[in-house]
Symmetry: C2
Subunit: 345 residues, 2 copies
């Protein structure tokens, strides 16, 4: 055969399918995949097309990583921690309770060895992963009644999943797994007592303030949750080197873009929610401390049974200690002053 | 003439020169341009090469934006606020005293209309700009003596530039403009009393802890300073559409990468500095409040004389109020708990 000219080879036509872990209605988080796909298409002059599908359109969210691993679709944009049922190590790719904030998560992933460590694990799952978005610290969710002490959590039926659910269970709550669309009627009827979702901009769409007015913060189980792009490992390795670079840049761009979008959109949503009856409440120090203790017990229990989790968690925990050593100085002092200056008007 | 085949046109060979505003020794901030240029070269299979030069190699930092505007070089990677002498509006592209933190800066630039507003101004300067890095909140710098009240700032000779220098002057200090390499001997001899630089990782290289041990925080004039890529406006407009996209993605990647690198590197540097004699001191509330008042006076004065500044600043200030409304809730409560949990061990 005659070799194709080098210049033609350098821009091969490719079509991939990406299944998002989210419905289109969550436009900021779903939009992360669209931002990514647009950058890749534009950068390749339309040669590398990645078509984005909402969760359930071709693959359901629970099956997404398996579908990527077996090659049904080339990639997904989702939260790693949705797959803790397969292996708890998946949780660390997104967030652990009392873990890193958004900037620290990026620092760990990009320059603290986190992404490489996670990819040792993801490789065993047939995946190649890279960060692709962040929500910032989430809210603690919506409660029908006020929660003042750990005793108030006893028997509380709360929509919360994964390791956060295990922490809540240690405190006596009863974690429930309910799809987003079913939360509102469950709260309204009192089938559940509380539900966590994301933050003001996304929460507003579901209208929880009308049926569970106490809006708690912070979502201590999600201090800076990262989204992930997962690509079928063999497909990733077959990509031309410059397409790998384009994908990597586009994922980084989608990462910074999503957090900027949430940070730009959340304030006005918070104002509207409070105007619509939401009552802001901080979790008490007593509840936070009990949850922190419970979280550490959960990590010890999982780590004693799972070497992958233990290895990645040790890195994550050590990094966290270093980060807060620094963040408590300039960052925290600056934010503290600015918050107080704003309150004075 | 015979038209070149479309596929060849789609990857034109280009060579640009980028003059950095920084010396190579500041490897994180200088490295932002290298990360960017590498992504662009890789994404184009080596067709679009951007050669990076340190400040002074081909163009000095003070001349960089003019050299870009007149086409001597195609682009620069620098701080917009270095050019306040040309027009104070340049300051807002980087940071204003008591302005936005790093995340809020990105939110304003990418999704609060900030980048578009700034580009209306930069276009008049012959430039197209985009964010390209961030240091996070900087430190307040190194002082030979303790500073407890605004009275201690009277007559204090401090190496500090731009609008921050104007704020310090209002408080009675005497701002000095001294290149990085000359700061150490000036502090050692007592020619100056204080100097601000960046944060632990960069400051450590200059060894100020040996001659001015009081290390103040926060650098209230730089809550989340952004780096900028500036491109000659005509050269930007001539770029093929997909090269524009590649440049935009690469700049976003360099932006998130630099902040992650600083966040990963600063903690260990802070430990070493404290081990080497640096004494951490917070600026007192009294000094912060006096500086905040002085900063607002400076903005009113500049805005009354400069319509571009006034227009961009109004957007920036309004955005800041909204951001802290939200950040004081989940983000701040989470960081607050984590800092206290760490301190308890």
């Amino acid at each position: 055969t005659v070799a194709a000219p080098a210049i033609a080879q350098s821009m091969p036509e490719m079509r991939w399918r990406l299944t998002s872990g989210f419905p289109k209605s969550l436009d900021t988080i779903y939009g992360g995949a669209e931002v990514f796909a647009k950058q890749v298409a534009e950068a390749t002059d339309g040669k590398f097309q990645i078509q984005v599908f909402a969760a359930g359109e071709i693959v359901g969210m629970p099956q997404a990583v398996d579908s990527v691993a077996n090659g049904t679709v080339e990639m997904t944009h989702t939260c790693s921690y949705y797959y803790v049922g397969k292996d708890p190590t998946y949780a660390i790719g997104t967030a652990l309770p009392f873990g890193l904030n958004a900037r620290q998560t990026n620092a760990w992933l990009y320059h603290g060895g986190g992404n490489d460590l996670l990819n040792e694990f993801y490789a065993k799952q047939g995946l190649y992963g890279m960060p692709g978005g962040n929500t910032g610290t989430q809210m603690g969710g919506w409660f029908r009644k006020e929660i003042k002490t750990p005793a108030d959590l006893q028997g509380l039926k709360m929509r919360i999943a994964g390791i956060a659910g295990q922490v809540m269970a240690k405190l006596g709550a009863v974690p429930q797994q309910i799809p987003g669309g079913d939360i509102y009627p469950a709260l309204e009827r009192g089938t559940i007592d509380a539900a966590e979702w994301v933050g003001p901009y996304d929460d507003e769409k579901l209208g929880f303030n009308k049926v569970a007015p106490f809006y708690y913060y912070p979502g201590f189980w999600e201090g800076g949750p990262s989204l992930h792009f997962f690509i079928n490992k063999a497909k990733w390795e077959e990509l031309p080197k410059h397409y790998k670079s384009i994908v990597t840049s586009a994922a980084g761009y989608a990462n910074i873009d999503m957090l900027a979008k949430y940070d730009a959109r959340n304030p006005a949503a918070l104002r509207r929610l409070v105007g619509g009856g939401a009552q802001l409440r901080p979790f008490s120090q007593e509840i936070m401390e009990a949850a922190f203790k419970a979280a550490n017990e959960v990590y010890d229990e999982i780590g004693s049974k799972n070497a992958d989790f233990k290895k990645v968690y040790e890195s994550y925990r050590a990094f966290r200690g270093e980060e807060y050593l620094w963040f408590q100085v300039a960052e925290y002092a600056f934010d503290n002053f600015m918050i107080r200056a704003r309150a004075r008007g």
